[in-house]
């Protein structure tokens, strides 16, 4: 009887199709399951993640960055930060990896249809929202005005310059970039991302704000957006915690009553307000 249960702990073999160096210590792996049946039945939403298993080392949660309509590939943009990602960094096209997923609840794309969208990201690349931008780009007429705000600490941290240039040319779209520390020839803003907020195009009564990055940044963004009259239920945060099982069993991503792996990683602000204002949860 128990043999009929799907074992969600089990990875499946996937093959690396392409490796793209995005910047220093940042790369994208394009992959697919080697079993065509598994690849064929694999569906996901923007904001969901997979567990990537490096043979003999361990597994890590990584966001899916490609569009859900690309049914033949799965893209992950990965920053080298620890033991597993340092090993994954060495993989090249043709190498094999273990893959399980997708996990979690992603961005509220369907509920945001017809609304203005403000995307605020901080840090390196912020892969979890790239899928959102791709999603809106492919369905541009379904959404209102699109604002993409990216903040970096140092100007050299900005990756995907070409992508921002491409997004800047989308209809009805504003792209704003800022660096905390400026430098000669940096053509964009110097200062915190929130100092760009007056330039945003949105109706506070009809907007979805999606953010991803350091929690300190998201806290400040939430405060600004609440001041501008955006309801708490329309502020969406992508949260990160240690994750090992990805199915709400191992307890590492416990956040109050939520398991970030299965109840998140994307939460509306009203669901996490209390803990989000407290350090150390």
């Amino acid at each position: 009887m128990s043999n009929q249960i799907i074992n969600h702990y089990m990875p499946h073999e996937a093959v690396i199709l392409e490796r793209i160096q995005e910047g220093p210590h940042l790369f994208t792996l394009r992959m697919k399951f080697t079993d065509p049946d598994i690849q064929g039945s694999y569906v996901f939403e923007p904001g969901q993640f997979n567990m990537l298993y490096l043979y003999g080392v361990g597994d890590v949660p990584i966001s899916i960055v490609n569009d859900p309509l690309d049914s033949h590939i799965i893209d992950h943009t990965i920053r080298v930060v620890g033991r597993v990602t340092r090993g994954i960094d060495k993989l090249k096209a043709g190498d094999r990896i273990g893959l399980r997923g997708p996990y979690g609840r992603g961005w509220p794309m369907q509920q945001s249809s017809g609304k203005d969208v403000v995307i605020v990201t901080g840090g390196l690349g912020c892969a979890p929202v790239v899928s959102v931008i791709n999603y809106i780009e492919q369905r541009r007429e379904e959404f209102g005005r699109l604002n993409i705000v990216q903040g970096v600490k140092h100007t050299a941290d900005l990756i995907w310059k070409e992508r921002y240039d491409k997004w800047r040319n989308l209809p009805n779209t504003k792209v704003l970039l800022a660096a905390d520390v400026g430098e000669a020839l940096w053509p964009w803003h110097v200062g915190p991302v929130t100092s760009l907020f007056d330039q945003l195009m949105f109706n506070p009564d009809n907007v979805a704000v999606m953010m991803c990055g350091p929690e300190g940044m998201m806290r400040v963004v939430c405060r600004h957006m609440l001041d501008k009259g955006v309801p708490e239920s329309q502020l969406f945060l992508s949260m990160e915690r240690n994750m090992q099982c990805a199915i709400g069993h191992c307890g590492h991503c416990q956040y109050g009553s939520k398991f970030i792996c299965k109840d998140g990683p994307v939460f509306s602000y009203d669901k996490v307000r209390k803990l989000f204002q407290t350090k150390g949860f």
Binding site: E13, G56, V81, G98
Partner: protein
């Protein structure tokens, strides 16, 4: 299901155990080892801690032999049922890498035989129900836990001698078993009252020389229940769930943390704690690896580690994580508190932090 209730003589205990073993059960029962009472394979009632009684206090545990003929005149040791359902360490799957670089995965689901645990207490039976909720009744079913759970029969024993650290009466989980066991024993001087409340439990009684329970025996059992319910330690009588969550910045967290060693003992002995870590171990030839999981604790730094940051770097934050989860946010997840009042975290805390006192800390305090 209406329980079947009978009495059997203590002299027939071995005969019953023999019949359980003969019907194919791996029997697990309490026994004296390493200065405490642990659960392991049981073949003979002589292995049971007959005559033993325990003294427990914050940070202290000892056993003495009173030479009485009772088998279960003691309160719980550090572990009981949890390791038999949620293994302390087990392999989840293994992987092989071929010479061409392909990776194949094999599930290593445990091969479990029908297992019968004798001696589980009310707190442990309540904890099984909680772990069932966590591992079996959410969005994802845990096949490893399920393999063990499907094969487990629980014969509980009503508690006659709660320890000084026990507070199951105030959590509503003991000292007598309410539900969740297949059969429940109450030990009297001459033998046991046995109540079988599930089909499996009733099958355990087949072929036993059973007697009708007398009014006198029922009165004795009730007296035991009343005495065992008279526990000194209890949870404070206020809305713990709401209050703890409203006191996240209270200085009391730091006061408790001054004593807490962050050793994680409390989480290791807790019958409801479910945290576990996963890790991969490769064979020396590099051709295969095994993926394990093992119990983890929210008191370790690694528990909240994420790409270079330890979210709960301070002990006060870790203690707060544990206590607010156990007594507050657990309600939202599983419809009750995560504490069954077994008192193990009090006894086995090396510095004797008393969880009921910790909770009481927040009763009257206000933000500073």
């Amino acid at each position: 299901m209406k329980p079947d209730r009978y009495f059997f003589q203590a002299s027939q205990f071995q005969q019953w155990l023999d019949s359980l073993l003969k019907s194919g059960y791996l029997c697990i029962g309490p026994q004296f080892r390493d200065g405490t009472i642990i659960y392991d394979d049981l073949h003979s009632v002589t292995q049971l801690p007959q005559g033993m009684t325990d003294q427990q206090a914050p940070g202290s545990y000892s056993l003495t032999n009173t030479h009485s003929n009772r088998f279960f005149d003691w309160a719980n040791g550090p572990q009981a049922v949890k390791p038999f359902l949620f293994a302390a360490r087990e392999s989840l799957w293994s992987s092989q890498q071929s010479d061409q670089g392909g990776i194949s995965f094999q599930e290593t689901r445990p091969d479990i035989c029908p297992t019968l645990i004798i001696g589980a207490r009310a707190c442990d039976v309540a904890a099984i129900k909680i772990q069932d909720q966590h591992f079996l009744q959410q969005e994802f079913v845990d096949p490893y836990y399920k393999a063990r759970r499907d094969n487990l029969v629980v014969v509980a024993v009503n508690c006659s001698h709660p320890a000084d650290t026990c507070f199951c009466y105030s959590t509503g989980d003991g000292p007598f078993v309410h539900e969740g066991a297949d059969a429940v024993l109450t030990e009297l001087d001459q033998g046991f009252i046995i109540e079988a409340s599930t089909q499996q439990g009733k099958r355990l009684l087949e072929g036993m020389p059973l007697e009708k329970v007398t009014e006198e025996q029922l009165n004795q059992a009730d007296l035991i229940r009343v005495k065992a319910s008279n526990q000194q330690r209890k949870l404070p009588d206020y809305d713990i769930r709401a209050r703890l969550f409203n006191e996240l910045n209270n200085d009391a967290w730091h006061e408790i943390a001054m004593r807490c060693l962050s050793c994680g003992n409390c989480t290791m002995v807790c019958p409801t704690c479910f945290c576990h870590s996963e890790n991969d171990v490769s064979e020396l030839d590099g051709k295969s690896a095994t993926h394990y999981r093992q119990w983890d604790s929210c008191f370790t730094q690694g528990h909240s580690y994420i790409h270079g940051i330890t979210i709960r770097s301070e002990i006060s934050q870790r203690y707060r994580q544990w206590l607010t989860h156990k007594f507050s946010t657990w309600h939202e997840q599983y419809g009750r508190s995560g504490c069954v009042g077994c008192g193990r975290c009090i006894t086995w805390c090396p510095v004797g932090i008393d969880v009921t006192e910790s909770v009481a800390h927040f009763q009257e305090r206000r933000h500073v």
